[in-house]
Amino acid sequence: MSILTARGVVKRFGGVVALNGAEISLSAGRVGGLLGANGAGKSVLSAILAGEITPDEGEMSFDGRPISHPSPRAARDHGIVIAHQHASLVPDLPVWENLFLGAERRGWLGLIDREGSRTAAAETLARLSPDFDIDRLAGELSSAEQQLVEIARALLRKPRVLILDEPTASLAHAEVDRLFQEIRKLAAEGAATVFISHRLPEVQEICDDVVVLRNGQTVGSWSIGDKLDHDRLLSLMTGEAEVAAHQRLVRDIGPVVLETTGLAVTPRHEGATLTLRRGEIVGLAGLQGQGQEEILEALAGGRRIAAGRVRVEGGEVRPRRPSDMIRHGVCLVPGDRHRQGLFIGQSIEENLDYPSACVRRRPWILPFAEIRRRALEIIGRLGIKTSGPTQEVAALSGGNQQKVVIGKWLPLATKVLLLSDPAKGVDVHAKGEIYAAVEGLAADGAGVLLYASDFQELLSMCDRVLVVYDGRIVGEFAGETMTEFNLLAASFGRAA
């Protein structure tokens, strides 16, 4: 029996079409998985269902009656509640107040019922994570703790429709189990749940149905039987029968260009020790959040080093700030392109030239002709689809934006290129072009150190893969031993 249905949903942001006729139907007592590649429209659709965004077109009906809810409060009055991917909390209020924000429990004379609120808060959070201190300020919590608070807040609203957007990204195994227990309880009470995730094993475990989005449209929805058909899923998500195999270039491996000894960003870590040669592509693997990104940031001078040494071509260096390392030819392509990679409001040309402008000693005047020439060269080399170098990067697709992020370092990464999950949220074609460009750089003689959350990417690109756990290198694989199985095993090797 359907509780919430949405049909023909269209949403545009400026020139970009985020949803183009998406549809979803949620039934009482069932858990529906909402799947799709990054940028497919999952978050936009959930935001519409939760009343945070109004769609340009489309109909929604609740319990069989048509509705439209232009605000989160209206959606909540219907019992539709969302727990966001990135917790939406007020940092200077304590956890228990955040849990009841906007739905405060009132007592005598309309005053806030502090005792009742705190009791209910403690009780609900305990179901997800025992011994949670509800008086701590939300701003002091770790991202995993914030995620738990975000979920607890949704649960407290006694939802009839619960939307969970990537709830398990930062959670530990035990917490995920408890969360699933709560979801099953809700289902038993007749609520519907939407579970957005990239983690197929979890989708397999908790979901009854799946809906797949691609490019803003629903391309498939069915009930899962005993086994989730991965191939069918992947081909629907990518729209291709098979992902083309990546052709490897033959490269000359040269002398050692980068070495670290016991590199650590916090004092308690043992530190990472690795070497990188010119022309080599070395991958960093492991579970998310084990320190891979921190190692790259530290090497680039963007994060303080607590212990350990770094040597570039035999000479010791102290990466104190990014400009130091850039001058040594060591450059970082950061993981979050919107917040750390691009000036969204500026043109492609301006973005591409910026780091060079910072490092350039002379002339102080910008050489416009040279900048234009270089921009066109990079656009051609990386295959950036654009109307011209003066186009604003905001208008580009995710994949092309990522190419700009990489492109600006091409003239400067003469010795080492560090990449932090460069193909995240990029469509398959652009991914191939990006990796071809990275390989080209390696073939030109730079050493490449690459972190990717997708093991397949690492296996297809790298000469060697290092597995990182808790900031240390716990395994090194190359050639025949470089298999997904080995990598996974090493990732979990020391885990509980």
Partner: protein, 313 residues
């Protein structure tokens, strides 16, 4: 670029419309002396707004509430040092510029190194500078007269155009060139657009932020120094009137309070527009009460229009 020319062009067109209107309301509004005066006043307002422009572009909710105090510093100490002599003008000007830059650097240090919100930091610095000037005036009883050269600069015209207006245009063009065609200018925009990206790309974000406050202080002090040529003598509170109006001019001229965007061209046009508007209201024989209310209402209308234009973008 064209968008900003459009804003600037629009504002200039409005100014001309107002001037013509003014002539209907008060004949003589379009007279040579009147227009001349307008141009001189807008030059000073425009220069103070240039200070705000630098600070606003660098982002981080940058504003400089100490432009008035720096202006007064340049005027009062400048007058005290030149003692009415032309020969001293050039060295004293350089000295005042350095003094203004020093004050600005202190503000910049507070903002960049200690993370003090610019609103608060520049407010505190303004208090200290103004306070210091009060003490200076009463203890040192300094000379307050202007020099003939400064009076020429601020008061006279060359080929019919006021000298100070020409100076303003020169400085304005230099500023526009600096911001758009030099690496440092690019870094200022980058810092304002996204300080994290700028940092990771190798920008010394702290240096950039300190530099814009230093530049603001320098320009403000020099402008105050020239201002005594226009008003004839130095006095306390010389620059006070310009503090908030310089910010208003910058915002109406298209500067974003968030930083990273905007062009001085629009700001300059806004300076002219606001000056014409204020003069028009003054000559219209309305009581001060009416003038204030009308000014406030028109400002609100401008802000509404600005927002509307922004949305359409």
């Amino acid at each position: 670029m064209t968008a900003f020319l459009r804003t600037g062009g629009l504002l200039l067109a409005l100014s001309i419309v107002l001037m013509v209107l003014g002539n209907f309301v008060t004949p003589g509004f379009l007279s040579f002396t009147q227009v001349s005066t307008q141009l001189k006043i807008s030059a000073f307002l425009g220069l103070f707004a240039l200070c705000q422009t630098f600070v606003l572009i660098a982002g981080g909710e940058g504003v400089d509430l100490s432009v008035g105090a720096n202006g007064s510093l340049g005027g009062i100490v400048g007058a005290a040092l030149i003692q009415g002599q032309d020969s001293a003008v050039l060295p004293v000007a350089i000295l005042m510029g350095l003094a203004g830059a020093a004050v600005g650097t202190v503000s910049g240090l507070g903002v960049a190194l200690f993370g003090v919100p610019p609103l608060v930091m520049t407010l505190a610095i303004a208090s200290i500078v103004n306070g210091g000037l009060i003490i200076f005036e009463s203890i040192a009883q300094p000379a307050i007269a202007t020099s003939p050269f400064l009076a020429q600069l601020a008061g006279r015209t060359t080929l019919g155009v006021p000298n100070i207006f020409l100076l303003w245009i020169a400085i304005g063009l230099a500023a526009v060139w600096f911001l758009s065609a030099t690496a440092w200018g690019r870094k200022i925009f980058g810092t304002g657009a996204n300080a994290k990206v700028a940092l990771l790309s190798g920008t010394h974000v702290r240096m950039v932020k300190i530099s814009v406050y230093a530049i603001s202080g320098l320009i403000a002090a020099l402008t105050g120094f020239c201002l005594i040529g226009y008003v004839g003598a130095a006095f306390l509170g010389l620059g006070d009137a310009y503090v908030l109006s310089s910010i208003v001019v910058a915002v109406i001229g298209g500067m974003s309070l968030a930083g990273g965007r905007g062009s001085y061209v629009g700001v300059a046009a806004a300076a002219i527009l606001i000056t014409v508007l204020t003069s028009l209201l003054t000559t219209m024989q309305i009581s001060e009460a009416g003038r204030q209310i009308i000014f406030g209402c028109i400002l609100v209308v401008f802000l509404l229009l600005n927002r509307h234009l922004d949305r359409a973008h």
